[in-house]
Amino acid sequence: MTRETLLNIRGISKSYPGVKANEDVSFSIGVGEVHALLGENGAGKSTLVKMIYGLVKPDEGSMELRGKSYAPAEPSEARGLGVAMVFQHFSLFEALNVAENVALGMENPPPMRELAARIRAVSEEYGLPLDPARMVGDLSAGERQRVEIIRCLLQDPKLLIMDEPTSVLTPQEVEILFKTLRQLSAEGTAILYISHKLEEIRALCDGATILRRGKVVGTCVPRETTAREMAELMVGATLTPPERRATAKGEVVLGVTDLSAASPIPFGTSLKNIAFTVARGEVLGIAGVAGNGQDELLLALSGELRTGADRIRINGHAAGDLGPSERRKAGLVAAPEDRYGHGAAPDMSLVENALLTGAIRRNLTRNGFIDWAATRAFADEIIQTYDVRTPGNHVAARALSGGNLQKFLIGRELDQSPQVIVINQPTWGVDAAAAAAIRQAILNRAAEGAGVVVISQDLDELLEIADNFAVLNEGRLTRPRTVEGLTIDEIGLMMGGAHGMEVAHHAEA
């Protein structure tokens, strides 16, 4: 199958201080082709697509769109030439409605009423039903993505860039999205599909370009290549899955009964009647699409959000009304998802960040006065044990890469000999080697007798490390069950199926 070339990229390079984000990258996309851009976090995928979309200018190299030189100075120019982009994060306005959000992404939007009618029409046509008058803040993650997609489709794009689109979808919703993308491809729209999920790429894409550390390390036809081959190209090494030793499960260390709480986050999800227990040595995996109460559950467990005393029991003692410090004293440590600003203070040094949660269990204060020598020693211990790459403990947290900071923060919690560990998104945005190290460290603590709750949106991760599995869906938790024998379809249904999205495609089929 030969296609006419739509976009041709030649020798693109881009550097940031200290980092070569892209180096001599070349590849091309044909008309109507679904092309995958594959690579680990930090491989330079995002920078590359930002250059195609006009958000960043390349230092070297050139691009051609349909044979003509293409160098968009800003996104509006790219949009004008038929290049549209669906972002992974940060391009919707929660306090504005769907139609307003769509209008902001268009060059010459029609009057609001007409736009609303077109949103309805296009969303029906592509099986992504959407109400133009709803406030985006009230939408689920999947629905928000639909807003982004519709925004692009209304401008008849020739090239649609999708940045990690499935990370916010249930398996069923992924199927529907793929139907939509195949429909678009059949109509002649090329799609540049960015992902690190290999099975998806094999199911959807016609061609793939693989990036590692900013360079193209290979191209392939995904349907004819095994996931393992692609993974090794992407990572550059063979990976060993974490080892686990079977441990006898002990008594319950964390018990949550009938926990309900309103969300303190604007447009957040309130928690509804959550119940589960975790025993010594057990890892409970909690899955769910983003925005279904994960952040709120972490706040409720860490003590930042207080509830009735007997709703949460640590080692049998009522702890629901305790604050974070008292819960640490009781033996519970927590690691939130957002590293820059929640888990760590970005502008403070690693030493100060070690003090942030370590003060109590590591006895770093005397009568309120800080023992800086002991705190420095604690920071150094974490840096060494968890192989944190940093020039020293005086460095500001924001200077570390995502993976390194995450190793530091997870290490900070794990090195406090905790009895209960709660972690939200342990490996989000972390490269494969660091992710493997983090998972191994969590399993080691479980083997030593800690009870662990891992909240994650990465199903593969949960299936790899969890003993028991539950799903958060709209603030409700399913009853935990053992991981053995779980199928992806079952998990998908636990995650709430396709949130009513299937209707449209079924109607049209």
């Binding site: 940031y16 920078t47 930002k50 006009g54 958000l55 960043v56 800003e74 996104p75 509006s76 949009r79 972002f87 940060f90 391009s91 919707l92 306005f93 929660e94 306090a95 504005l96 307003e100 209008a103 902001l104 992404g105 939007p109 604007p266």
Partner: protein, 310 residues
């Protein structure tokens, strides 16, 4: 129709005049805050507007030139704030405070030798016989043109924010600068323009104080009006028409306490003159409590600086 020596018709008519400065300043600040910027320098921009307008009006004999100069003075001062917060990313709260302190000093310096001079009179709009209608006449048809212009400006800001693309972009920038940037909008440039608009409106309000409301130049004559304007934005929950209501409410209180003072009321003068500030506090409490209704409407990115990292 007198109640304890106070004529309600005159009271309403004069509160409409008293409300103009805070209405204009609050309206400007509303646009600034809608774009996600908190400029606490309103008081400073008002007082600089007051003296710039006063000097220009005295020099040219034209109140129109005076008002234009007042707006220009406020806008120029606001550009200092805009440069510091949007270009070199200084803390907005601290910069706003600096702007107020600097503005108070600067105006006093500029005003040397202007004490005791009368500015040219700002004319009333000739409505002819309409002004003679009892009750409605003095309330609706007997004001200078700035009173009507300020109401028109409220309507204009409301329309722009609600129904135009520019308004949508301003609101978007104030909601999430990251998202706006990802879509290719020039966040800091849009904010800069909103800040300049806010400065011009504060300056216009200040000029109204020195040219119409008082009318003469006195050091520090805005006496906290800029701060009350900031409170009115909260009171209005960032909605233009509520700014009008809020300004009339505060205009009413200041007029009422002045006429009570003049009428020799039994309440001591000190308690009357502190009443506008106390009422401001009470209103802030009411608007902020009740499950944080006011804060729910606040632009999400209010007060945060934006730096396009990559």
């Amino acid at each position: 129709m007198d109640f304890g020596g106070i004529n309600p018709v005159i009271l309403v008519a004069s509160l409409m005049v008293a409300a103009v400065p805070i209405m204009l300043a609050a309206l400007g600040e509303l646009v600034v805050e809608k774009a996600g910027v908190l400029n606490l320098g309103v008081e400073g921009m008002m007082i600089v507007g007051a003296i710039s307008g006063f000097i220009a009006a005295v020099a040219t004999g034209s109140p129109v030139v005076g008002f234009l100069a007042g707006a220009a003075g406020g806008a120029v001062l606001s550009l200092v704030f805009a440069f510091l917060t949007q270009v070199v990313l200084a803390n907005q709260v601290a910069t706003g405070l600096a702007l107020t302190m600097f503005g108070l000093g600067l105006s006093s310096l500029m005003g040397q030798g202007y004490n005791g001079i009368k500015p040219p009179l700002t004319g009333k709009v000739p409505f002819g016989p309409l002004a003679d209608i009892p009750v409605l006449g003095p309330i609706l048809f007997a004001h200078d043109w700035m009173v009507y212009a300020s109401i028109a400006l409220v309507a204009g800001v409301w329309w722009v924010l609600r129904a135009t693309r520019l308004g949508l972009i301003i609101r978007a920038v104030g909601e999430s600068h990251d998202a706006a940037h990802a879509l290719g909008y020039k966040v800091n440039r849009i904010r800069l323009m909103c800040i300049a608009f806010g400065g011009a409106m504060a300056g216009l309000g200040g000029a109204y104080v020195s040219l119409v409301r008082v009318p003469q130049w006195v050091d520090g004559m805005t006496a906290g009006a800029g701060w009350i304007a900031l409170a009115i934005v909260v009171f209005a929950s960032w909605r233009p028409w509520r700014v009008l209501i809020g300004a009339y409410l505060f205009g009413g209180i200041s007029v009422l306490q002045l006429s009570l003072q003049a009428g020799g009321s039994a309440i001591p003068v000190e308690y009357l003159s502190m009443s506008p500030y106390l009422v401001t506090i009470v209103v802030l409490v009411i608007m902020s409590s009740g499950r944080g209704r006011a804060s729910l409407n606040a632009p999400a990115a209010l007060g945060q600086n934006f730096h396009a990292a990559r």
